[in-house]
Every structure is written in structure tokens, then in C-alpha cells.
């Protein structure tokens, strides 16, 4: 094919994926003078048309529930175009005994269109896991090496927060944080009594104008996408400056199938499926940056087989797909009667929490390793689908009295979510399913998953912490309502065994949508795929710029670090390209 087309265009760099990592690479590389072609597996985005910001539920026939009530179970039709757990014609499988869910966004900007905007730096100890507690591995880079890139990313995208000097939760370049809501005032007081650190959150939302992007207007609906780009999305903040250089080409609806190895042992092209015509095409480049999201990146590399790499390109170590982790999640909600006295007022704020609890027991002796942070929210937000299921189940009945109960309970619930670090284990990985193809003819991923005991203990600890915060704050813990045939909704059983308690409250693998670590970096080519510059040990013009290179999955959400690492990788690539090394 390549011999036939003699007039083929060769770009400097081909970037696969347009999310946090791909978008950052496109900006840095094009502004550095290189020509970049980007493959995106979904359509281009038009915020003006595609974002449902400021729409009231009654303006849509489905009221936010989606067709057939599909969004009643998860997410809402108001969210920015965001994909789902299942995509028609693009399945994945789970191995027997494993439970794992994989959320994918096939759209320009990927998951950054709707993400939670939580922008936390990893701390120095997070890069030195093995040196700190003997588990997992150290990164091949230190905090000091990535710190300047955190500075660059935060300065460019805008992150609010406050200087706090919390151990291992480094402060950043911050815009001023918004004032706390009533719910946050209550919880802050409770945390103060319990000596739990509760500080302004750190979100990629503008509280002041940055680079011509308007400050937040406090409608509280960042997840819908922001037409004034007052929060961070790759589609609105990274892709536009790449376009502005005149050196950027975006190919939407392009599903990468294989990275093609050239005769000299470097990558020379990407074969992709043009979804609009169902035909296979190729794009040529001098270097490749894969940023398709950790598992999709692993899938692409594993599917890129050749005589030199029978187990997938750059996979001489055999570790591609291994070291898969997600965040440990657990949640609990409380009812706070004092909120019934709060008069109606605008409680929206930014689209996310104004305060949070970073890991406050760092360096202390716990019955598990590593730590977690706590996110919380609730109060008088825009009423939505499913919002009254709990009140209806608790009070039952019907009529004006139930209506009044709904009104008095509205805005009185605060939910807590723990987000903790998972330690990689040998039972968690993805590989290629030997029998299943997607509709484009590409072999699909198969997931293997088991939480370890450390994660279960951590989830149990989260539950106990939530309970103490709720009770100290004057609230009552809300428990799940059982099936009608059990007759009683409020009996709660105490579970004494910590592992059992953890198992009953821990999230399903993948559902926190922080899956990462599948193409990890390291100094040893036998146990890692990428070197410290996120460059493949085996193929020097192949780089990875999403969360696949991560060696650990600390309790800090990955997106900010994806961008900082991608920025660092891209500057290295620029430097190598200028020196003619690629």
C-alpha cells in the first residue's frame, strides 16, 4: 500500500486521541513548530450545538432521563457528549469471575468534555511508592522533575485552590477558590472537630478570566460542557491553539487499528478505519504519540503485531496491559435536618465541590497502605431525574403529604465519596480477547479484575470515616432501601469483618473511570514499556501520552498528571526532533 502511494504526505507527528493527553501534545508540538495530524475515533465537537448548558429539564421531552429512561441508571442526557459504558458495535469482554466496566468517549476532547475537573497534583511520595512502603514500584521520574510541568499546565488551563502545605498534596498555581456553600460549611465544621483536613477543592474551573476565557458564571453544571469554556476541556482549550498554528490536521471518526512498523524498526504509519466510509486508510508520520486512553492505547499496541513484535509493538517485555488499576471508590450519604431551615437561595456554585478532604493521615500508621481523599456534595442543586427516589422509598404513600416531604427533604442530603489508591496486582490486567471482534474488525479487550485486600480495608475505612463525619455534623446516615417484599427499609446490619465490609461497599472495577497503568514507564526494559520520557524502549519514535504510562494510581485524580506528563513528553519529543534523533 505504501509503495503504491508515492505522493503520500508524511506528518512530523501523528497523535492518536484528542483527550487530555492528546490535546496537550497537539498544542505543545504544533506551537513548537511541528506538523501534527490527530486521529479521533469519534466526531468533531460543536459546543454551540452539542452542549446542553442552561437547559431546564422540562425543555426536553425526556427531562434528562434519556431515551427509554437509560440515563436514569447512570449519568444524564444533559451531560456533554460523553459516550457510555457500552458503545454499539464496540464491545469489550470480562474474564470469568472478573467484574470490570470501561467507560469510553468517542468525541473530540474525549472524557474531558464532562469530567469532574478535579485537578490534584501527585505528591513526592506518590512517585516513590516502593521506596516508601515496599509495595508496587517507583516511577522513573521524581516529583521535582514533573513539578515545572504542573506549573505550566495549571498556569495555562486555570485551576482554583488554596495554599495549604498539606503533606504529599502539593499546592499549585492557583486562582482564588469560590466561597463555600451551606453544605460545605456544615461539613467543614464537623471535620474540624474530627481533625480531618477539609480545604478548598482544586478544580480546573476559572474564577478569573484566563487567556481570554471568561470566568465561571456559577451555573453549577460543568458536566454539561461550558459554552464559555470557563472550565477545562481539551476540545475547547488544547485543540483551538493547535489549530491556530496552521500546522494541525484533525481526522475525526478515525478508529486506529494498527501502528505499522517500518523496515528500519521504527513506526511509519497508523492504519485506521474511517468510520464514515467503513474503509481502511493510512496516515504517515515521523513520530507517533498514542493517547487513546490507557486501555485503548494498550489495545492498539497489542493489536499492532509484526515479525519483530509478535506480541504487539514495543511489547518485548510482555507487560502491555498489565499493572491495570482503577481508583478505590466507596460512598455514603447523610441527611442533615438543619438544612431544612435554610431558605431558598442560589446554591449552584461551580460544577463540583468547593471543598474537599485531602488524605489527612499521611505518614501515620493505618491498617492499610497509601490513602484516599474525600469528595462530597449535595444541597439545593437543580432537581433532576431520580432525585426523589430516596424520599419516596422512605415515606411511601402518596398525596400532598408526600409532596411536602419531598419539598422539606429537598437539598438536605450530602453524599460522600472516597477516592483511594489501588496497588497494582497480578490479577488485574487487560489482554486481547481471542474470539471477539468489534464492528470495525478489530480484536477487542478482555478485562481481568480482582481487588486486593488493601483496597477492601481502605473501603471499609472510608465507610467509617463518612459515618463519623455525618454523625458529627448532626446528620443521619442514609442506608439503601430494600426490596418491597422484605417489608422494612431501614434495618442496617453491622458488618464486623473489615474485608467483608469493604467488599460490600467498594466500587466495581473501572467505574471510577481512573483506569490506568497498562503501558507503564520504568528504567528497566524488561519490566516496563516506556522510558522516563514516555518513549518506547523498543521503538524510539513511539510515545505514549495518556495515563497508560503511570506507575502508580495515587488518590489524586489522574487528569492533571496526564497533562503535565504529556507536556513533558512533548517537549522531549520536540527536542529530539530538532536534533534529528527521530
Amino acid at each position: 500500500m505504501s509503495q503504491v502511494n508515492s505522493a503520500k504526505k508524511v506528518y512530523d507527528v501523528c497523535v492518536i486521541g484528542s483527550g487530555a493527553g492528546g490535546g496537550t501534545a497537539a498544542k505543545v508540538l504544533t506551537e513548537g513548530g511541528l506538523s501534527v495530524v490527530m486521529l479521533e475515533a469519534g466526531p468533531a465537537l460543536n459546543p454551540d450545538k452539542d452542549f446542553k448548558e442552561h437547559v431546564w429539564p422540562y425543555e426536553l421531552p425526556h427531562r434528562g432521563a434519556g431515551i427509554g429512561g437509560k440515563a436514569r441508571q447512570a449519568f444524564s442526557e444533559f451531560l456533554a457528549p460523553n459516550g457510555f459504558w457500552e458503545i454499539d458495535g464496540e464491545p469489550y469482554t470480562t474474564a470469568p469471575g472478573s467484574s470490570f466496566r470501561w467507560f469510553r468517549s468517542r468525541i473530540e476532547g474525549g472524557r474531558t468534555n464532562h469530567w469532574g475537573r478535579i485537578a490534584l497534583r501527585f505528591g513526592p511520595a506518590d512517585f516513590m511508592a516502593r521506596s516508601t512502603d515496599g509495595m508496587g514500584d517507583d516511577w522513573p521520574i521524581t516529583y521535582d522533575e514533573i513539578e515545572p510541568y504542573y506549573d505550566k499546565v495549571e498556569s495555562y488551563i486555570g485551576v482554583f485552590g488554596s495554599k495549604e502545605n498539606v503533606p504529599n498534596a502539593p499546592d499549585g498555581v492557583f486562582l482564588p477558590p469560590p466561597k463555600p456553600r451551606c453544605t460545605e460549611t456544615i461539613i467543614k465544621k464537623a471535620c474540624d472537630q474530627l481533625n480531618i483536613t477539609c480545604i478548598p477543592s482544586r478544580l480546573a474551573i476559572l474564577t478569573k478570566e484566563v487567556n481570554g476565557r471568561a470566568a465561571c458564571h456559577y451555573c453549577g453544571e460543568c458536566g454539561r460542557g461550558c459554552i464559555t469554556a470557563s472550565n477545562f476541556s481539551s476540545s475547547q482549550v488544547m485543540i483551538p491553539p493547535a489549530h491556530a498554528t496552521g500546522r494541525f490536521t484533525m481526522i475525526p471518526n478515525a478508529m486506529a487499528r494498527e501502528i505499522v512498523l517500518g523496515k528500519n524498526g521504527t513506526a511509519e504509519a497508523v492504519s485506521y478505519i474511517d468510520k464514515t466510509t467503513r474503509s481502511e486508510k493510512r496516515v504517515y508520520a515521523k513520530s507517533f504519540v498514542v493517547a487513546a486512553s490507557a486501555c485503548e492505547t494498550a489495545r492498539l499496541l497489542l493489536n499492532s503485531k509484526s515479525a519483530s513484535f509478535p506480541d504487539g509493538i514495543a511489547n518485548s517485555s510482555g507487560v502491555i496491559g498489565r499493572y491495570l488499576t482503577d481508583t478505590v471508590g466507596s460512598s455514603l450519604a447523610g441527611y442533615f435536618p438543619q438544612l431544612e431551615k435554610v431558605p431558598p437561595h442560589n446554591h449552584d456554585g461551580v460544577g463540583g465541590m468547593h471543598m474537599y478532604m485531602p488524605w489527612w493521615r499521611f505518614g501515620k500508621k493505618n491498617d492499610f497502605l497509601r490513602g484516599y481523599h474525600i469528595e462530597f456534595g449535595g444541597g439545593r442543586g437543580m432537581p433532576g431525574i431520580g432525585g426523589f427516589d430516596g424520599v419516596c422509598a422512605e415515606y411511601e404513600g402518596y398525596g400532598s403529604s408526600l409532596k411536602q416531604k419531598c419539598r422539606s427533604h429537598y437539598g438536605t442530603v450530602i453524599g460522600f465519596s472516597g477516592r483511594g489508591e489501588m496497588i497494582p496486582n497480578e490479577n488485574c490486567y487487560c489482554d486481547i480477547d481471542p474470539t471477539v471482534l468489534d464492528r470495525w474488525g478489530i480484536p477487542v479487550l478482555r478485562f481481568h479484575w480482582q481487588w486486593g485486600d488493601n483496597e477492601l480495608k481502605m473501603a471499609r475505612d472510608m465507610q467509617e470515616t463518612f459515618r463519623s463525619i455525618i454523625e458529627t455534623g448532626g446528620g443521619k446516615v442514609l442506608v439503601g432501601h430494600r426490596n418491597a417484599d422484605e417489608g422494612n427499609a431501614t434495618i442496617e446490619k453491622y458488618v464486623g469483618d473489615p474485608l467483608l465490609a469493604g467488599r460490600s461497599s467498594i466500587s466495581e472495577g473501572g467505574t471510577i473511570i481512573h483506569e490506568l497503568g497498562t503501558v507503564r514507564m520504568g528504567n528497566n526494559p524488561k519490566t516496563s514499556v516506556l522510558n522516563k520520557n514516555c518513549q518506547a524502549h523498543d521503538v524510539k519514535n513511539l510515545f505514549v501520552a495518556d495515563a497508560a504510562p503511570f506507575v502508580t494510581n495515587p488518590d489524586k485524580n489522574p487528569t492533571l498528571t496526564i497533562m503535565a506528563l504529556s507536556w513533558k513528553t512533548s517537549e522531549y519529543l520536540l527536542d529530539q526532533a530538532k536534533k534529528g534523533e527521530l
Binding site: G68, G212, P241, Q338, K341, P344, G399, G487
Partner: protein, 198 residues
């Protein structure tokens, strides 16, 4: 302290300034600001014209309407679930979801059969006292234990109640009833107003 609501004129102005100041956003189209103000054309034009149910046959749809209005009735504080469009919303979703068709379509059939067994007529033809009697049974989980013959009805009613709550509280009527204030433009977020104990 109080958050100022931005006027349409101001938002257009700020967008223009953003573009002129060398925004990385290129130019934000003016239509975007219009969109942001929530003046998008509603896909549905209120209650003009009789709604034609997509799933429920006429008799069942009438029963659905009566049940919705019993669950969240009009009272001195607000209009009820029917004015809020709950039956239309429930019918639309049910027409698209076979599970809802079983739960709600089947549930309404169950209600009529049960009323026929007990009172010799369908729910709509029952008098108020009979209707209250059967609803007071199926509206509570404890009935499923005390009278297993209504356990399916309890499940049905619990689901219908959730769906009616969705339809009611996502309507303009329901949102105003709750006193939700927001979904607008503020230049500054004022934080929590002073409330004793909070």
C-alpha cells in the same frame, strides 16, 4: 455579597471582549450566548394540543393520569403532576423501554384485574373509597408482607411513584414548588447565606 445576575447584554459584551483580547477560543459565536441564556426552542410546545399517548391505550392512559394526580395532587401550594406533564413523560419513556412496559403496562393491568376481583369493576369505575382502599394497600411495603397477594402491586406502585416524582419535580411547576433558585449567570458566587446552626 449578593451574586449579581448578568444581563444578556453584559454576557454578549464579555464574550466580545474575550474574543478581542486574543482568546484561544477563537470567536465564541453569538448564538452560543443565546443558547446559554436558555432561550433554546423547546422541543415540546407546552400543552398546546391534546397529547397522543405513544404506548398506553386510552383507558390505561386515563388511569395513569388519575394515579399521577393522586400521587402528587394539585393543592394550595402548587398544581399537580398532570399539569406538570408527568403522564406524557412516563408514556414517552415507557414507549421506548420494554422493561417499563412490563412494570407499568403490566402494573396497570394488574390494578384493574385486582379491582375487578375485589370490587367487580376497574380502578377508574371504583368509587373514591374503594380507590383509596387499594392504594392504601399498595403504597406501602409492609402490605407485601401482611397480604402477599398485593406484593406485585406494591412493586408497581413504588416504581410509578418514582417516575411520577421524576415527571413532577423536573417540571417548571415542580421546580418552583421546591424553591430551586439557580441555572443562571452570576458574576460572583455569594456562598451560604447566614442561617442559624449552619
Amino acid at each position: 455579597m449578593s451574586g449579581k445576575v448578568i444581563s444578556r447584554r453584559n454576557i454578549l459584551k464579555s464574550l466580545t471582549i474575550g474574543a478581542a483580547a486574543g482568546s484561544v477560543m477563537q470567536v465564541i459565536p453569538l448564538e452560543a450566548a443565546k443558547y446559554a441564556h436558555g432561550v433554546i426552542a423547546a422541543e415540546k410546545t407546552g400543552t398546546a394540543g391534546e397529547y397522543q399517548p405513544k404506548f398506553f391505550p386510552p383507558q390505561q392512559y386515563k388511569t395513569l393520569q388519575v394515579l399521577c394526580d393522586t400521587i402528587f395532587p394539585a393543592d394550595a401550594d402548587s398544581k399537580g403532576a398532570v399539569e406538570a406533564g408527568a403522564p406524557e413523560f412516563i408514556d414517552l419513556l415507557t414507549s421506548e423501554n420494554s422493561d417499563y412496559q412490563l412494570k407499568l403496562g403490566g402494573g396497570l393491568m394488574w390494578l384493574d384485574s385486582t379491582c375487578t376481583d375485589r370490587y367487580g369493576k376497574t380502578y377508574l369505575d371504583c368509587d373514591r373509597q374503594q380507590q383509596k382502599e387499594i392504594l392504601d394497600l399498595i403504597a406501602y411495603r409492609k402490605s407485601a408482607v401482611s397480604d402477599p397477594s398485593v406484593s406485585q402491586g406494591v412493586q408497581f406502585f413504588a416504581f410509578l411513584r418514582d417516575m411520577t416524582a421524576d415527571g413532577f419535580f423536573t417540571s417548571k411547576i415542580g421546580i418552583e414548588y421546591l424553591g430551586y433558585i439557580g441555572n443562571t449567570f452570576l458574576t460572583e458566587f455569594p456562598g451560604c447565606p447566614p442561617v442559624p446552626g449552619v
